[in-house]
Amino acid sequence: MTIAATIGWILGLALLTGGTMALLRARRWAAGRPARVHWLGGLLRLPRSYFVDLHHIVARDAYAAHMHVAAAGGFVGAVLVVLVVHLLGVESIILAWILLGLLALMATGAFFVLKRRFGDRPARLSGGGFNRLPYSLFAFAFGFILLTLPDAGVAAPYGWSSSLGLIGLALGAWGAAEMLAAMPVGPMKHAFAGALHLAWHPRFERLGAERPVVGLVPTDLAADKLGVETPADFAWNRLLSFDACVQCGRCEEACPAFAAGQPLNPKKLIQDLVRAMDGRGSDADYAGSPYPGREIGMAHGAPHAPIVGDGAMIHPDTLWSCTTCRACVQECPMMIEHVDAIVDLRRFQVLERGAVPGKAPETLQELRQADTQSGRPLSARLDWAADLNLLVLAEGQSCDLLLWLGEGAFDLRNQRTLRALVRLLRAAEADFAVLGAEELDTGDLARRLGDDATFQNLARRNIEALAKRSFKRIVTADPHVLNSLRNDYPAMGGNYEVLHHTQLLQELVAGGRLNPAKRAGGAAITYHDPCYLGRYNGETAAPRALLDAIGAERREMKRSGMRSMCCGGGGGAPLTDIPGEARIPDLRMAQAAETGAGIVAVACPNCAVMLEGVVGDRPEVRDVAELLLEAVEGAA
């Protein structure tokens, strides 16, 4: 048998092995719960999903994108031609030269991979098998370059005594083993699982969507088990999605809890889920950054064993450190939905075990019994407005705008925002009303903490109350309320047009109904994007437009817009209060101070409270509505 024939056999064997391993891997996913996917549609959309949706994310890291275009583009092209030339034995000088070109491209990509991993390697990148990858890429590329030279007419066909031929064969075999045979389990798993994940994505509607797709699926409260206890409780395509993780650590870099030294690293969380699912059962071979403050090698799990617990794959402190800010999801080039997994895991902890730390149990209890987070009576929601004579929308009445006040109505700080908003609405002669004591908590906090029973109860009753009144739009100064009503209520049967107050105010300014004066001098302003307005609802422009309308000297923090950093106030994190080395709001405030701005503009009651809680010399915290009111009254 010739060397050429041998490489054909090796390729065939590698494909066979790879295929077998892929089936074995798929059996792991099949252990998960059923999920409805677009089997064919997903596959057909794959090129667009990959080249448009996913590439859009990858391209944020230009180096990685160029590297990946070369390495992956070269590899995928080369594999197809390699199979034609070396497995099927098609003889064509043109094909051979095309193949050489593709392999050269791949080698170039491999060089950049090598440079990144062993040059100035970002801390977020995992080591382990991934450190082998540049060499495997080189092996494949250079192996098949050597093996293709005769086909290109550059060298004579190799004999068994040809050292070039032998080297080519050895490298080619190495390359085929890593890149093809071991694809479903080695570092190349990301390509295999990633492609399928993209085809059968758990939030398929996210692909190509203009606005973030973030609504959660309500828990079936009649099910035998509520939430996710073991890996097998995840839907199968969620298990598949975990396998897509390329361990690039962009999530880790974006995670506020990780930055604050709380025991959470989204990358490790996904890797722990992978290891629990695939039978490795331990995190011992994980080669990335640990959960801050926790050693690697202590976690154990199995496909049918509980995921969360002391000594299990994921410690409860990890689960409860998450602020649900979605920075990880926003950054993930594989489009993995970390936060969905967190909420699924929390649901089991809360609904089946009642295991929720810190002050969260009291708050959930209040939500169940008093319909407010703080346990204050519903009748007190308008206390702050006793002198404002707000119209309370009674059953059967109608108005243009329904002002949803939220829990912030009980908070002295946020009452200032609400008072400013009311004055602005009055100045614009808007037709608005409030629900008064009929407004219950939207249930958002309960939902983020995993207590979907409480969320559903509140949502159902709110929807009933809203059904008895008519209004065109709902406006709120609380992005958590906004998100709940806009994205979570539809699945409960409530469909409303919901606006954030900055969106409405921007509309009023643009329409000439509010005429702010330009600020003359004064402190520069930096705007802090609330996660639930930006990443959850895609609105980053309206608040900035308002600041521009008042003539603010606007400065941007390094992290802003859709890539803003959380204040630490989301997902019930202030209640679960998992200790870290620093406080998230302190970190965020330092970023604000770095801009030299004297004012941090906020647009969320949680952000206001978290950032105002930062002690020491710091920029002042003002809601956009407060700043706008100043400018509008300054003009009057």
């Binding site: 206390d383 002295l412 009452q415």
Partner: protein, 681 residues
């Protein structure tokens, strides 16, 4: 941050929605003229509404009958011509979200017969009233009927004037309390004797008022929780009165006070200065609240947020009266809402305000010179439209601190020199006896404000003219205060000053004569300071009484403390000579009236108080270099117009003197000097 939720919770009483629990109880700052609310009075109340108050109870002791006098600037509510004024008052308060009541009061024997209409005073019995010194006429049946109808008519006028409710005074030892109190009511008919009889007149008045205003109008009363008076109403009887009134169905709330102004010491208790502790009578209100189902209001020395919140949150009261707290800072609730709690100027309990009122002067706040002067003085100093200027202030007593604060609020660059290591000037000495310590709040607030405003405060630096000029100032304010002056008599050099004593520079002697020829607090404070350190003290004054400059809310406290400490007080004697004899001093006291009568005292120490002499050296060095040569157009200043004088066009800066650096006065004078000059910088 604490939320102060109880304070910010609304309260509904019938149709009256009170937006929060901040209350200013009815009082009379003596701004009105001719029994009609003046614009000054309305602006004063309106400022509290702007500042976010819930209920501004107005019209303190509003008269209802022709015999009521307007000695304290009360409103005359006894005829219909008052109604348009009520409309103006209520409209201005409603505009800013506040509600208001008027307090209807027949003073009974607590009036003067020799003013207003020159009619006699009336009371249940004819015994003399000690404070107003009137001998009242005992009421006859037609007096009862007339007065009942006067109450009803006056209440209807309030309702017609848009006032949200009326408060009928059952307190302050005015007519109805004169019936309630066995110390005053000595009748033997159906209006005297048993509690039922003593309550009869009050209930008749309430029934008549209720019938006149209707069931939906708010009618409340003000009542003592304990008269703290021998033979007067005790706590149990006051609780019983509350219970009976509450179940009568005639009233909607009870506002509780402690003590009764039967005499001077009673006056100093019902409107107490810092002499009484914080929330001194809260327990009395709480005791009544526990027994009745109506809202209970209460005010007395509640000056801070924490105490007010606790009084509400713990269920002691339903509305917390912070009347003097609002005089010190009418924007109290607004600042709380805006998260500027540190900016609240807290009442220190100096009681300069009421002390002036009880002797018939207009109320002004010792530390906030804008209160009661809203027409001319700003509570919020606006930024200057002109370019930034350099202001140098010398001296960080209250006047200098206020000058620095106001100048900085104007947006100017301010340098403040202070010779000592701390700010406060003479207020530090003035607070040297324990019960006067709260006075330190005056400089403390100013200090916190100037720090916030970025004033360049240079402590421990005694500025001279060269240092001031080296700053290239546009304006220089000399607030260097004064130095003690023992007075003008032979042998003054043998005397110690009150400052030496209070500052601890000179140890107290064993036998001490203190000569007070100033008449305000300094003499009594130094005397008490000496006595508390073991000295045997006699205070002599050429005046008819000690502390002649102080009013009835504070001088009784000083006198009570002095007598308790064994101090001997000698009035009508002027110190004319001091000379040494052996290791003693002989002090010669001449009778101020029988001037040929002299007494001698042989003592170890003579302390002499005669105000201060201005520290004006730096002023006179700077004067020739200034543009105005130190002058101010006083006519313009008094008229709140441009007071600038250009006497020396070559001068490079304006030069002003404030406070005791000008001449010996008091804290308020120093602060007002600074505010009215600096607000125009």
């Amino acid at each position: 941050m604490a939320q102060y939720e109880a304070l910010l919770e609304p309260l509904q009483i019938k149709g009256m929605t009170i937006r929060n629990r901040f209350l200013s109880t009815s009082h009379q700052p003596v701004y009105n003229e001719g029994g009609r609310p003046s614009e000054r009075y309305i602006r004063y109340q309106e400022e509290k509404a702007i500042g976010g108050i819930g209920l501004a109870q107005c019209g303190g002791a509003t008269g209802i009958a022709p015999e009521n006098s307007y000695h304290y600037g009360q409103i005359d509510g006894s005829d219909d011509s008052v109604i348009p004024y009520y409309k103006e008052l209520s409209g201005r308060l409603h505009k800013h979200g506040a509600v208001c009541t008027i307090q209807l009061t027949h003073g009974g024997r607590r009036e003067r017969w020799d003013s207003s209409n020159w009619l006699p005073t009336f009371a249940p019995s004819s015994r003399r009233e000690p404070v107003h010194r009137s001998f009242p006429k005992e009421m006859e049946e037609f007096d009862f009927e007339r007065i009942r109808q006067c109450y009803a008519d006056a209440a209807v006028r309030c309702r017609e004037g848009g006032i949200d409710g009326v408060e009928v005074t059952f307190a302050s030892l005015t007519l109805i309390e004169q019936f309630l109190s066995p110390a005053v009511n000595h009748r033997s008919d159906e209006y005297g004797g048993s509690l039922e009889n003593r309550m009869r007149f009050g209930l008749e008045v309430l029934a008549r008022v209720r019938k006149a205003v209707g069931d939906d109008y708010v009618v409340g009363i003000r009542l003592p929780g304990d008269e703290l008076l021998k033979e007067g109403l005790g706590q149990e009887e006051c609780v019983e009165i509350s219970r009976r009134l509450a179940t009568s169905g005639l009233i909607d709330y009870i506002s509780v006070v402690g003590a009764t102004p039967h005499d001077y010491i009673g006056t100093a208790k019902i409107w107490p200065s810092m002499w009484l502790p914080s929330a001194a009578f809260l327990h009395l209100a709480s005791g009544i609240k526990a027994e009745i189902d109506l809202p209970v209001f209460h005010a007395t020395r509640i000056v801070d947020l924490a105490t007010a919140e606790r009084a509400l949150a713990d269920g002691h009261v339903d509305m917390v009266g912070m009347t003097r707290a609002f005089i010190a800072d009418p924007h109290f609730p607004k600042k709380l809402r805006e998260g500027r709690v540190d900016d609240i100027r807290q009442c220190v309990g100096a009681t300069y305000c009421i002390d002036r009122v009880v002797v018939g002067h207009d109320a002004v706040c010792i530390q906030n010179a804008a209160t009661g002067r809203e027409q001319t003085m700003p509570h919020v100093v606006p930024k200057a439209e002109k370019p930034r200027r350099k202001v140098v202030v010398v001296g960080a007593g209250p006047g200098g601190l206020e000058a620095a604060r106001v100048s900085a609020e104007r947006g100017h660059d301010v340098v403040l020199f202070e010779r000592d290591g701390v700010v406060g000037g003479q207020t530090i000495l003035a607070g040297k006896v324990a019960w006067r310590e709260p006075l330190s709040g005056v400089p403390r607030w100013l200090d916190s404000q100037i720090k916030k405003l970025g004033v360049d405060l240079r402590l421990g630096v005694e500025a001279d003219a060269d240092m001031v000029r080296a700053e290239n100032p546009d304006v220089v304010v000399i607030a260097t205060g004064g130095r003690p002056n023992p007075g003008y008599f032979k042998g003054a050099e043998h005397c110690t000053t009150t400052w030496d004593i209070l500052s601890g520079r000179v140890e107290p002697g064993e036998h001490v004569l203190l000569h007070d020829d100033q008449g305000a607090e300094t003499g009594p404070v130094a005397a008490l300071f000496l006595a508390q350190r073991g000295a045997k003290v006699e205070v002599a004054t050429p005046e008819r009484k000690l502390a002649v400059e102080l009013g009835e809310c504070t001088f009784p406290a000083h006198l009570a403390e002095l007598y308790k400490a064994g101090v001997v007080i000698t009035a009508d004697h002027r110190l004319t000579e001091v000379y040494p004899e052996g290791n003693k001093l002989v002090a010669v006291l001449r009778n101020e009236y029988a001037q040929d009568m002299e007494e001698e005292r042989v003592v170890d120490q003579v302390v002499a108080e005669h105000g201060t002499l201005p520290n004006d050296e730096i002023y006179f060095v700077l004067k020739p270099h200034s543009r105005n040569l130190g002058d101010v157009n006083l006519l313009a200043l008094a008229a709140n117009e441009d007071y600038r004088v250009t006497a020396n066009p070559e001068g490079t800066f304006e030069l002003y003197r404030v406070g005791d650096a000008l001449t010996s006065r008091n804290i308020h004078a120093a602060i007002y000097d600074s505010l009215r000059l600096c607000k125009s910088f």
